[in-house]
């Protein structure tokens, strides 16, 4: 990770990761967690492991009805607030409809990606004011986290494509 000048005016510098760095960081996180919880690497990653991982690093994992609107399908979002761990919300229908289990898993991993990358960014930059830290967390969390679900190339579970997903409040504290 390196800090590069930010041209949007949100902060002087912003974090920049190479894709391989992100992949590595995500992979280390999930592998470390699986070994700690199960004693070995479980592939595919159990859905329950994803929920426990979120509960470990986020303030809360909640479910909510009707996240989607007429234009976009939204199955999860992560909300950042000053001085607090992020709040992750997942669409209730994904839990209730068995045939959408894969979508549930990809949504959980995507939202955990937001949590993890925000955490990584803040760990690098400790001197920021709380408001700037919040912005940075929001920014960083919007990077890619594919390594969470492609452990050692052995797991075929990609993150959902960006198309059709709602980035409702870029800079507003919520990432879907």
């Amino acid at each position: 990770m390196k800090m590069v000048p930010d041209r949007t005016g949100r902060f002087k510098k912003r974090p920049y990761w190479e894709i391989c760095e992100l992949e590595q960081q995500c992979e280390e996180t999930i592998i470390g967690f699986l070994r700690e919880r199960y004693g070995f690497e479980r592939i595919p990653v159990p859905t329950e492991a994803l929920t426990v991982l979120i509960e470990r690093d986020a303030a809360e994992l909640d479910l909510a009805m009707n996240l989607s609107d007429e234009r976009y399908e939204v199955f999860g979002y992560t909300k950042f607030e000053r001085g607090k761990k992020p709040l992750v919300t997942i669409a209730r229908e994904l839990w209730e409809q068995q045939h959408r289990n894969n979508r549930l898993r990809t949504t959980l991993t995507r939202e955990y990606g937001h949590v993890l990358l925000a955490h990584l960014a803040l760990r690098q930059v400790r001197h920021l004011k709380r408001s700037a830290a919040l912005l940075l967390a929001q920014y960083a969390s919007d990077q890619r986290g594919g390594g969470l679900v492609r452990v050692a190339g052995g797991l075929r579970l990609g993150l959902p494509a960006d198309a059709g997903e709602l980035h409702a409040a870029r800079g507003g504290g919520v990432f879907s």
């Binding site: 929920t51 994992l61 839990w95 209730e96």
Partner: protein, 106 residues
């Protein structure tokens, strides 16, 4: 004092249990495990559990069911307070308050 939801979620995490592990050990009246959304609702105090669910929840979380009844704002059914006369009920609450007060003294 924690709410019912806060208590069960903290206890679950204390035991290192995932939501799935908890719901696997709790069955509804129809014999099916309760669902994850139902558990999440309980953990967020959006719903109150039935007696059957509450008792099983106490077992899974390894806590006294009386504590869960108290946090859920209900009397344990075995107390059967309905049969008590008003004076007896008042005396029982008086004894309960006395005990709580005694426990709180340093």
């Amino acid at each position: 004092m924690k709410t019912f939801g806060q208590f069960i979620v903290d206890r679950r995490k204390e035991l290192g249990l995932s939501g799935r592990e908890v719901v696997a050990g709790i069955r509804n009246a129809d014999g099916k495990p309760i669902s994850i959304p139902y558990l999440v609702d309980l953990e967020h105090d959006r719903r109150k559990p039935s007696d059957e669910v509450l008792v099983q929840m106490a077992k899974v979380l390894q806590v006294d069911s009386d504590i869960l009844y108290f946090l859920a704002g209900r009397m344990p059914p075995d107390l059967n307070a309905k049969g008590l006369k008003p004076d007896e009920l008042a005396a029982a609450f008086k004894a309960f308050r006395r005990e709580v007060k005694r426990e709180r003294k340093p």
